[in-house]
Symmetry: C2
Subunit: 465 residues, 2 copies
């Protein structure tokens, strides 16, 4: 009998489960009946590409990689602009906003996240204040840039900063409000965050307010926002406002259905991504993406990851496990590796990368650290593209194992983040890292790389340049 898979949510999480199952449909003898329900009217959108569209690199439309038709043509029941109102796990069915009920053999929860909007903003009905979650938001923001002179961003994470860069690039005087002490606190220590701040101030003229202050009011004129009030009454001109902070897992549907959430607020799963209800993990219900809790690869404690890169691995694992279950073939079963959240972002020409714990994250987990910071060119100075990179490495002070890496530079950051992720995963010590050969060609790399310098500094050896 044909098995029915219903996916709730059409962000990258839902779409990637769908794409994996579509690609592997033929492995299942009787085929798969695939349904995806999403709120938005789009097909597959590269949401990570939206900030670059806002910056003017390409049209927003270009981020829609496939329209709904692409999936409909492949026989998927791909429903856009549709709400799910209930998950009836006992009946193996879901209820839609229309009242329609859809039964499933396998259910995938991919309901994503939502920003925490300050009260003062929630109450306002002015035009020009937006979250920045999807292509609809991007279109509204894009439309509001024309004629605007001032932009205001609430949030100093990647999305907030990329939005700020987009505004600044398009000529808007831009202010960013976030908490202390510096930028990107979940990825970077304050000393590294400070480098990003300086870059954005100097190269893009962005102003930062990094204090424990909230938006306490908004002022408008003709139905449009014209200023925000910060804290005790500082008024900052703003023709367009983006709220990009405090992303919370979207778990109402799951909670209503009795599915367990963890201390991070995300849905609890086992390593195979089955959700938990009462005492058991449900063999036929999976959860992934921004609404789902992950297990940290260093501390082995729950947290959120909320990265597209986390999602694509989870989507593979869910596809593996649905197919394994249907075919009763345990060799296909697969699990998620503990999560290290390797992160990279281009922020106004500066590349920022991180993986593993920050110093604050380590302290919170009770881990004492040794740290080393080094700055060096990525290749011999007489070759084109020889730009500096600053790398900070954190080691467990007792075991000397690598537990975190942060970097800021103009090239080679993405690839180095992946490398440092493997070093953390492999439990490499500072001593092993120092004595590990790195490939060399003077036009491409250095004979003694910044990685070695940062490692040696952490363990108190004078680097030889």
């Amino acid at each position: 009998m044909v098995k029915k898979v219903v996916i709730v949510g059409g962000g990258i999480a839902g779409i990637y489960v769908l794409r994996n199952l579509l690609a592997r449909r033929e492995e299942v003898e009787d085929g798969l009946d695939l349904t995806l329900i999403k709120r938005e009217r789009s097909g597959w959108v590269s949401t990570c590409g939206l900030p670059f569209a806002l910056r003017g690199w390409y049209e927003i439309k270009r981020t829609e990689i496939n329209e709904p038709k692409f999936f409909l043509d492949q026989g998927v029941d791909f429903r856009t602009e549709t709400e799910v109102t209930r998950l009836n796990l006992d009946d193996r069915a879901i209820t839609l906003g229309t009242g329609e009920e859809l039964s499933y053999d396998y259910l995938v929860i991919a309901t994503g996240r939502k920003p925490s909007v300050p009260d003062a903003v929630l109450k306002s009905e002015l035009e020009g204040i937006y979250t920045f979650n999807n292509e609809l938001d991007a279109e509204k923001i894009e439309a509001s840039i024309a004629g605007a002179k001032y932009a205001f961003v609430r949030g100093r994470g990647i999305i907030g900063l990329q939005a700020a860069v987009a505004f600044a690039t398009r000529g808007l005087k831009t202010t960013v409000l976030g908490g202390p002490p510096s930028l990107l606190p979940s990825s970077l220590d304050p000393d590294m965050g400070e480098m990003v701040k300086k870059w954005l101030e100097e190269k893009h003229g962005i102003r930062f307010i990094l204090e424990r202050k909230e938006i306490t009011g908004v002022k408008g004129d003709g139905g449009r926002v014209r200023a925000v009030i910060v804290g005790e009454g500082e008024e900052i001109p703003a023709d367009v406002v983006v709220i990009a902070r405090g992303m919370k897992p979207n778990v109402e549907l799951a909670l209503d259905a009795g599915i367990e959430t963890g201390e991070s607020g995300g849905i609890v799963t086992d390593r195979a991504l089955h959700v938990k209800r009462g005492r058991s993990y449900l063999r036929e219900v999976f959860s992934l993406g921004d609404c789902t809790e992950v297990i940290d690869g260093v501390t082995h404690r729950p947290r959120l990851s909320q990265l597209a890169s986390t999602v694509v691995v989870q989507a593979k694992v869910i596809a593996d496990n649905i197919i394994s279950d249907i075919k009763a073939q345990p060799s296909l079963y697969s699990i998620c590796e503990p999560c290290l959240s390797p992160t990279v972002a281009e922020i106004g020409g500066l590349l920022v990368g991180s993986v593993g714990l920050t110093t604050e994250g380590a302290t919170r987990a009770g881990i004492k650290t040794l740290s080393g910071v080094a700055t060096k060119l990525v290749k011999a100075r007489y070759f084109p593209g020889a730009k500096p990179l600053t790398l900070k490495l954190l080691f467990d002070a007792y075991t000397h194992k690598l537990i975190g890496a942060q970097m800021v530079g103009e090239s080679t950051v993405a690839e180095r983040v992946n490398e440092m992720e493997l070093a953390i995963r492999a439990g490499m010590t500072a001593e092993e890292m120092r004595n590990t050969e790195r490939c060399y060609d003077p036009s491409l790399s250095l004979l003694i790389d910044v990685t070695i310098d940062a490692t040696e500094k952490a363990i108190g050896i004078t680097p030889v340049y």
Copy 2:
């Protein structure tokens, strides 16, 4: 008492031991008396930079990072244009060509390698035929390019190909002679080597003769070479000839002193790089670099590495162990990790990388392999610099552990080689690699990277693009 360290050889190996000891001299209470003996008249030369100088990117002189004076000024007995004729290990002394004897507390052997020159060439006294080992060779080759129309290179390794590119770039009709089946056989499988060959043929007009043939004669005119005879009598015009093949460890001095060499021809050492004589490793005599055997990180069998990147790690280990021994401080003692020889080279605009075993290397070691090859852009196609990269991964067919990686592309190769090295070292399986997150920003990387595709192909899973 001041301890005397004598280093024999002034290539990258000798220089890096010297630089490490210089940087750490103050750790030793009584100081260090440092002597380096070298044949060449130069100080510290970046030999890896020479092919780029030949290509016209900068002057050959620029590859001399420090002149001898730099070391002399720091109190080093830095002797250039000096031969060592004997190592008298029983007396802890060496004899120079001048007859002078120098005593040592620690001896470092860094005598390098030499190419195997075909008999027909050895016998010739014509101008225009050179090896390509150091800056003297580079100067002679450079001088012979003026007025030359034809170049001939014997050797299809990195140095041979980089020399060929230099000749072709400077307008010489260039032929390369090497064995079958393709290029860079110690780094690349034939299918990957073929990509390099095609690139060099198409972009640089280089002609390849890849057959089991040797130079059987040379023809000259006015004391200068004008042609080489290959095999049974094919005559190929050549105004300049470079011999860059069959690099053999330079071990005469060591052998004469009773130091053991291994099946690879290199000097045998323990993990701390002490050499072996009779039944014991000598606490005060070290060897490193091209003259020294390493232990392979996958097969744990001896082989040669002959890379500058191998040398810099070995130099650190020797400095650690000399200082540890002088201070009787075992915590400073360090060892070399087994060698995976991560390699990268820019060859006429194409970047070639490899680490671990090739298919042939695996077969020789009795390891059955699974392999996957994939080609993909390194980032989303609508961002600048989105160039394709071809990656071949080799896994042990039984354990599914990664044992080798080869790649050809126009960017991100060096960093990926380092990453794959860590994956091999960590014993990562294909299944773990597939389910390991990779950092994502569309302007810098792909959500599902070529690494995942190559991994999935190796284990028979359809990649989802």
